[in-house]
């Protein structure tokens, strides 16, 4: 079920009413079953995989707590992590691995058969696998006590608001909140509703409007002038931001309406003045996951300069690969790794004027389906550019996109001023007006094609 679907518009209010009318274990059962229904809306055959991983890591957590021998504990941890990664690898990377092997074999003069497995990528597998793995690692490190209730653990993994596209909520954050009934708080629910509306605006009005322009340009870059391709690339930067942070806002806002705090996943990333700051603001739950469970275990910055650079590059390469089974994602990760290494090597804080264009350049590889497409876009921007906005095609759509981006930037810039935020929060009429304005903007500028969220594919 998509957040931006009619089904969800019926599902969520119905669930909310039922949620408010129930208590204790019944409420947890309701939440769990509703979450499985939400997931099964795509394909019910994917549920057993989710159940298996939930059961596996719940059991692993218990055994890790009971075992005393460090060797046995480590073996169990490795067994749990390997199983999770094997499942993720099989469903997400099997075909990618085989096609890479075939290409490599071809380059070395061997002829390998072109084998393709007919595997459906389970929606959200990257997100719930990472969430589940972090629980097992935390229990292994004895940072988290193992959850005694399978119902609670399963609900923490499957909660529909974060199940398919994050945020990746750590067990230590969510499990305690599921331990007791959340009291309904009108102020929190109102704030949650406002965040949910803003998320819908970002997704339906901004991201999907920009997608129309971007998709046409990236489908056949050779047909467009450099100025058009440059605008399409800028637009993509905002499309993916509004798509993913819009999803997150709907998830976090919906969670607040239920009384849960799932944290922050985006913090106005395009205002970042350095690449490390960008990664502290973009997809925070993933970047902190990679930091805590990959970068630091690799040695972090404790092994000297070269080891730090190696760890940064490895983390970003794997972060890129996490996003999708394609070398273009790896290239995107490599570019960001390189940015971070250069920044660290020079001891330099580059400023927004450098960070944003460099981020856009990396997005070209993220958006393009092949390196040839990415090269076409870059060649078009550099070689076919009259540097005149007059060459931009479909200027009405481009102007609408630019105006919507301007609104986004204005709102985000205003949110850096605490006195403005406080004044807004203490003025009920202003809040009503703003919420109504967002609804009007959704009606006026929204795209209702039921477009998927970009991060679902990851």
């Amino acid at each position: 079920m998509l957040f931006n679907s009619l089904a969800f518009l019926v599902f969520f209010p119905t669930f909310l009413v039922a949620y408010l009318l129930t208590r204790g274990a019944l409420r947890l059962w309701l939440t769990l079953l509703a979450s499985y229904l939400f997931y099964a809306w795509w394909d019910w055959r994917l549920l057993p995989l989710l159940w298996f991983q939930t059961g596996l890591d719940f059991t692993a957590g218990h055994w890790l707590d009971r075992l005393e021998s460090p060797v046995a504990r480590k073996r169990l941890l490795i067994a749990s992590l390997s199983t999770n990664l094997l499942l993720l690898g099989f469903f997400k990377y099997a075909n990618f691995g085989m096609s890479t092997m075939q290409a490599l074999g071809g380059a070395l003069g061997f002829s390998l058969p072109d084998v393709k497995l007919d595997v459906v990528l389970p929606v959200g597998i990257s997100f719930y696998t990472f969430q589940s793995m972090s629980y097992v690692i935390d229990v292994y490190r004895r940072e988290v006590r193992p959850e005694k209730s399978l119902l609670r653990f399963a609900t923490s993994i499957a909660l529909f608001l974060h199940l398919v596209a994050g945020p990746i909520v750590r067990a230590r954050k969510l499990l305690p909140q599921l331990a007791s009934d959340r009291k309904f708080d009108a102020e929190l629910a109102t704030a949650g509703f406002e965040q949910l509306l803003w998320g819908f605006f970002k997704k339906v009005a901004i991201a999907d409007s920009l997608a129309k322009f971007v998709d046409v340009h990236y489908a056949e870059p050779a047909l467009f002038d450099g100025a058009s391709l440059l605008v399409a690339t800028w637009f993509y930067a905002f499309q993916i931001y509004c798509d993913f942070s819009g999803y997150t806002d709907i998830a976090l806002g919906g969670a607040k309406m239920l009384g849960y705090d799932l944290g922050v996943n985006f913090d106005r990333p395009y205002f970042a003045a350095s690449f490390s700051e960008f990664w502290n603001r973009w997809h925070i739950s993933l970047s902190s996951w990679l930091r805590d469970y990959l970068y630091i275990p690799l040695g972090g910055n404790r092994g000297g300069t070269l080891a730090t650079y190696r760890n940064l590059m490895l983390t970003m390469l794997l972060g890129g690969l996490w996003h999708g089974a394609n070398w273009t994602f790896v290239a995107w990760g490599a570019l960001h790794g390189l940015y971070l290494v250069i920044e660290r090597a020079l001891g330099w804080r580059p400023s927004m004027i450098i960070v944003f264009p460099a981020t856009c350049f990396a997005w070209i590889f993220f958006r393009a389906e092949t390196f040839a497409d990415a090269a076409d876009v870059i060649h078009g921007i550099v070689a076919r550019n009259s540097w005149s906005l007059g060459q931009v095609q479909n200027q009405v759509v481009a102007t609408k996109g630019a105006l919507l981006i301007a609104v986004l930037i204005a709102v985000e810039a205003a949110s850096f001023r605490p006195e403005l935020v406080a004044r807004f929060r203490s003025a009920p009429m202003l809040r009503y007006g703003a919420a109504a304005a967002v609804l009007w903007a959704i009606a006026l500028f929204g795209t209702y094609s039921g477009a998927n969220f970009i991060y679902f594919q990851f």
Partner: protein, 305 residues
């Protein structure tokens, strides 16, 4: 306490719904008023009382091929273009019916006839005109019932899209001089040359609509010319069923109407903006050729005489 909190939240939600609904109506009314006063072709046609001798219909190929100021110059007749990007034959039929309901019937209708498409999204994009265009409204109800229902819930929803924005852009100036001024790039030419063979498919419903347009023109004593504007030769060379496609159009139009096929008539790639569209420097010689060939000649008397 929780019950009180829930009631408080429910009241807030109700208040928001009331504000949102009232604002929706007010803003939509203001937006519609602005749109109707616009010089955008659909607004001008909806206001009525036009008496153009030549009416142009079709999709973006018609917009660019029948560049209105040049059409007026070469034909010596007043002209109005109702053509628009993505206008299928089915959409053109509905728009023509609404046009004829409000304006004087033109003496000549020129239809760029390759718009026998199966994409009718323009009907949805024209939602802002549904309340004032009965034929378009009926077509929208048939093709997009959910959007039609949504338009009743939110009136602002009808202003959602490019058409409203274009309406605002043309508040004080005519849109009749639209033409593509882009030139072919070597890359586009290379893509067109390397393109795979393709088949042009004309769905039955569009061919039937074409027949109805011809009948409607006759009914209103307007002459009609069914014209195929030039394609980029490097592109159209890959069409595997060109003759069959033209024959299909001919069958749909009926024995009394000729298909004026200029699909391969222009071999100068400098006359094209891309593989489908003539640019300004291609539209001029094309229109001059049409005038020489008698496409704009009118035999019937002006309507009302």
């Amino acid at each position: 306490m929780t019950g009180l909190e829930v009631r408080r939240a429910a009241l807030r939600l109700l208040a928001l719904c009331a504000i949102a609904l009232a604002g929706d109506r007010l803003l939509a009314r203001a937006g519609s008023a602005a749109l109707m006063s616009s010089e955008l072709r659909f607004s001008v046609a909806t206001r009525g009382a036009l008496s153009a001798e030549v009416l142009v219909l079709g999709d973006s190929r018609a917009v660019n091929s029948f560049w209105t100021p040049e059409l007026v110059r070469v034909s010596g007749r007043s002209a109005f273009s109702l053509a628009f990007n993505g206008m299928s034959t089915l959409t053109a039929e509905a728009l023509l019916r609404d046009y004829l309901g409000r304006n004087q019937a033109p003496r000549l209708i020129v239809l760029e006839v390759t718009n026998v498409l199966d994409n009718h999204d323009l009907v949805k994009a024209l939602a802002c005109y549904w309340p004032v265009s009965p034929s378009l409204d009926a077509l929208a109800l048939e093709l997009f019932p959910r959007s039609h229902a949504a338009a009743r819930v939110s009136h602002l929803f009808t202003l959602n899209g490019e058409i409203f924005l274009r309406g605002l852009r043309y508040l004080r100036r005519s849109d009749q001089d639209w033409v593509n001024r882009f030139a072919m790039t070597p890359e586009i030419l290379a893509v067109a040359r390397a393109g795979p063979p393709f088949e042009i498919v004309a769905p039955d419903e569009s061919l039937e609509a074409l027949g109805r347009i011809v009948a409607l023109a006759r009914e209103r004593n307007s002459e009609i010319r069914l014209v195929i504007a030039p394609y980029l030769p490097e592109y159209i060379a890959h069409a595997t069923n060109w003759e069959a496609f033209v024959a299909e159009l001919q069958r749909a139009a009926g024995p009394g109407e000729r298909i004026w096929d200029y699909g391969h008539a222009d071999t100068d790639s400098g006359h094209f903006a891309d593989r489908l569209h003539l640019n300004a420097s291609g539209a001029v010689p094309f229109l001059e050729r049409l005038a020489r060939d008698g496409v704009f000649a009118i035999d019937t008397l002006p309507s009302g005489q």
